[in-house]
């Protein structure tokens, strides 16, 4: 059996292994070195790799990302950490108008092999400025790859893939999952982008969730089985760009029903995109409209009670799944 470690440790191991493997790989970000990372993902890396390769930066998001882009253009392979995804709004010009654009705009003369790591998500009462989920924002941008792992094993395999890949990668992490324990096989396992995971097989309804919602989907599936005798198939896309739509469509063509869970805002969200793609491609297979379970359409309030009310939960997922089956039984 493989060792069981926490997700944050899996990420750190993935970073360390790639740094040992390739001298061009280095890390930069706010408080990642001496402070060892505000979520402790980079713990111990300064000690092993030194100040040249584990670099603390000033609070200058747009320039941190832009410097990473320039370093990538200059032949390095930067892994930039933005302390949280909330601050990525300050760097969006460099991410969209530069990282995602330059390889295409200069017609392939140059590439931007960099990774931008961003913790995000709600649930810790960090309030309206610190609880965003921006998956839906990044999946819109051509030129970017978007990773959103939910397990320790996938996190390690995907961070390794992201570092080796020659495209700019937005690597989304959920703050609630860093402490999550899971088996992580030893050795050099690399996960290709665009390969969804079927976490649970089932024939009645397909439930799709990323990051923390991948776990909520599993809880919902268990409850559907235990309390309602319904077998849900659970899919974790793992990357949103590219998106493994085939695996999702195959499942929906079997179950004829789909529920999408996301933590972000409802309008123009991950769910809206997926729901549209599924409906367009599998319209004749659907016995009910695709259901979405999303965060509330408000800035995330601080009050624990309000925050929990604004976030999607297992019960909502179960209810949504049941709604797709209404009349069916």
């Amino acid at each position: 059996m493989s060792p069981v470690i926490r997700l944050r440790e899996a990420l750190r191991d993935g970073l360390a292994e790639e740094m040992r493997r390739d001298d061009r790989v280095f890390l930069m970000g706010e408080d990642i070195a001496v402070f060892q990372g505000s979520f402790k993902v980079t713990e111990g890396l300064l000690a092993e790799f030194g100040e040249k390769r584990v670099r603390d930066t000033p609070i200058s998001e747009n320039t941190i990302v832009g410097t990473g882009i320039g370093a990538a253009m200059g032949g390095l392979r930067p892994v930039v950490e933005l302390m949280t995804v909330n601050f990525s709004l300050l760097a969006l010009d460099q991410i969209v108008n530069h990282a995602a654009t330059i390889p295409y705009m200069f017609n392939g003369q140059i590439r931007v092999p960099m990774v931008i790591r961003m913790p995000g998500g709600g649930g810790h009462q960090l309030g309206p400025t610190h609880s965003h989920s921006f998956e839906a924002l990044f999946l819109q941008i051509p030129g970017l790859l978007v990773a959103c792992p939910s397990t320790p094993a996938d996190s390690k395999a995907l961070i390794k893939a992201s570092i080796r890949d020659d495209n700019p990668v937005i690597f989304l992490e959920h703050e609630s999952l860093y402490g999550l324990k899971g088996e992580v096989p030893d050795g050099d396992h690399v996960l290709r982008f665009g390969e969804a995971a079927v976490r649970r097989e089932g024939s009645d309804v397909t439930i799709i969730g990323i990051l923390k919602m991948a776990h909520t989907a599993m809880k919902a599936a268990d409850e559907l089985a235990d309390r309602h005798g319904i077998q849900a198939e659970v899919i974790d896309p793992r990357t949103l760009r590219p998106l493994d739509l085939d695996t999702i469509l195959e499942s929906v063509r079997k179950t004829n029903r789909a529920v999408i869970l996301e933590e972000g805002w409802p309008h123009g969200g991950v769910g809206a995109n997926l729901s549209t793609l599924i409906t367009e491609q599998a319209f004749d297979y659907l016995d009910a409209p695709v259901q979405r379970v999303t965060g509330a359409d408000v800035p995330m309030p601080y009050s624990k009670r309000l925050e929990q009310a604004a976030m999607p939960h297992t019960a909502s997922a179960v209810e949504a799944a049941l709604a797709t089956l209404e009349g069916a039984r």
């Binding site: 402790k40 603390d56 609630s176 809880k219 309000l306 019960a315 909502s316």
Partner: protein
């Protein structure tokens, strides 16, 4: 420099009542922060908690020379700023508890305290985000022809943000009546000043944009009051921005979750020697303005105020779940309605306010799953 020079002269204390008032405010901040930390460790307060213990003179020295109609805007470390502007400790503590009687109705939490009635415009969680807002508040005063000054407080780390350069230039270009007050506590989170800023004399950064700056001893209440009032009144008179750098220190970690591996205990102890509250209290006693007993009493009052604040916060209810969507938009002539569900007959779950109570009931049942989360990750900043 002129600041250092003046520093020696300004040993003369204000009148007794003012001394009591100033000491009272600093003590209140100190005791409030200590209690906030206890409540945080008891998980009565959530999220991140940034304490200003050690920075009381910088805060009170600044707010105490402002006019009630001047504007104040700060960062996520502003419990003390609100308190010294006059926001009741009950409202600040209730905000930390996320209660309906909180200064921001429980919506903002520790990082987003606000009291617009007292012209405290928050409490902002994005480093550097409050600088342009301050320029705008100052523009409004200039535009309306008032002589209000906007005081914008931010940390040493914030001087590295793009907003700093942009706002310095705009404020200087437009002669905006704004006083930038840098709370230089020598660290941006775990990164020390010389490791995050190429120029460690932060007033020099402002000078590059044509804004005069001065450094004051942020641990010395009288020095802060003198330096700030001098520049504040100049800003008011000449309607030109200025920058004051208060050299101070936070005794506690960046946030309550900070293991503080980046600095020596020794350093902290040295700064504690300069404690702004003791320093001021001793001066008051030395000069016979206050007695030891009175100093004790001031502190006792502060402790009691804080205890009452906790009781109040505990007694205050959570915000009602059906208030989830309140104040998201103003409904009016021009925007007659809005619907969290885009007026769809079958709203998506989690989108319709009237569904919130339902969600809550579900949560109760789900308790277990949430508790597991709490254990595992409720303090994302802490190493486990």
């Amino acid at each position: 420099d002129s600041g250092a020079a003046r520093l020696e002269q300004v040993r003369t204390l204000p009148d007794r009542d003012t001394c009591l008032e100033l000491l009272g405010q600093m003590s209140l901040i100190r005791r409030f922060e200590e209690e906030a930390n206890r409540q945080y460790n008891r998980a009565r307060a959530g999220g991140f908690l940034h304490l200003a213990i050690g920075e009381e003179a910088t805060i009170v020295g600044t707010t105490s020379v402002m006019r009630p109609d001047d504007n104040l805007i700060g960062t996520y470390r502003t419990h003390g700023h609100a308190l010294s502007r006059g926001t009741p400790a009950t409202a600040v503590m209730a905000e930390l508890f996320g209660k309906v009687d909180g200064a921001s109705g429980g919506r903002g939490g520790s990082m987003h305290i606000s009291d617009v009635g007292r012209r405290f415009f928050g409490g902002h969680g994005i480093v550097g985000g409050n600088l342009p807002l301050a320029a705008g508040l100052a523009l409004a005063s200039q535009y309306q022809g008032t002589d209000q000054v906007t005081v914008c407080m931010f940390g040493d780390g914030a001087t590295n943000t793009g907003n700093f350069g942009e706002t310095m230039n705009l404020a200087a270009l437009w002669d905006l009546p704004v006083l930038f007050l840098v709370e230089n506590n020598l660290y941006g989170m775990g990164t020390s000043l010389e490791r995050h800023s190429a120029v460690t004399d932060l007033s020099q950064k402002a000078r590059g944009y044509g804004i005069e700056g001065e450094r004051v001893d942020g641990m010395d209440l009288l020095a802060v009051r003198d330096g700030v009032s001098t520049h504040l009144e100049q800003v008011r008179r000449e309607s030109r921005p200025a920058l004051v750098e208060a050299f101070t220190y936070r005794y506690r970690g960046h946030s309550a979750a900070d293991p503080e591996t980046y600095r020596e205990e020794e350093e902290v102890l040295q700064w504690r020697e300069k404690d702004p509250i003791n320093r001021f209290a001793e001066l008051c006693v030395e000069q016979g303005v206050l007695t030891e007993a009175e100093v004790e009493e001031v502190d006792a009052t502060a402790r009691q105020t804080v205890d009452e604040a906790v009781q109040f916060a505990e007694g205050s209810p959570d915000p009602p779940l059906d208030s989830l969507y309140d104040n998201l938009y103003v409904v009016s002539e021009t925007m007659g309605w809005y619907a969290v569900d885009q007026r769809s007959p079958e709203p998506h779950r989690g989108e319709r306010s009237s569904e919130a109570p339902e969600v809550a009931r579900r949560l109760a049942e789900e308790g277990a799953s949430r508790i597991e989360e709490r254990e595992d990750h409720s303090r994302p900043g802490v190493r486990r």
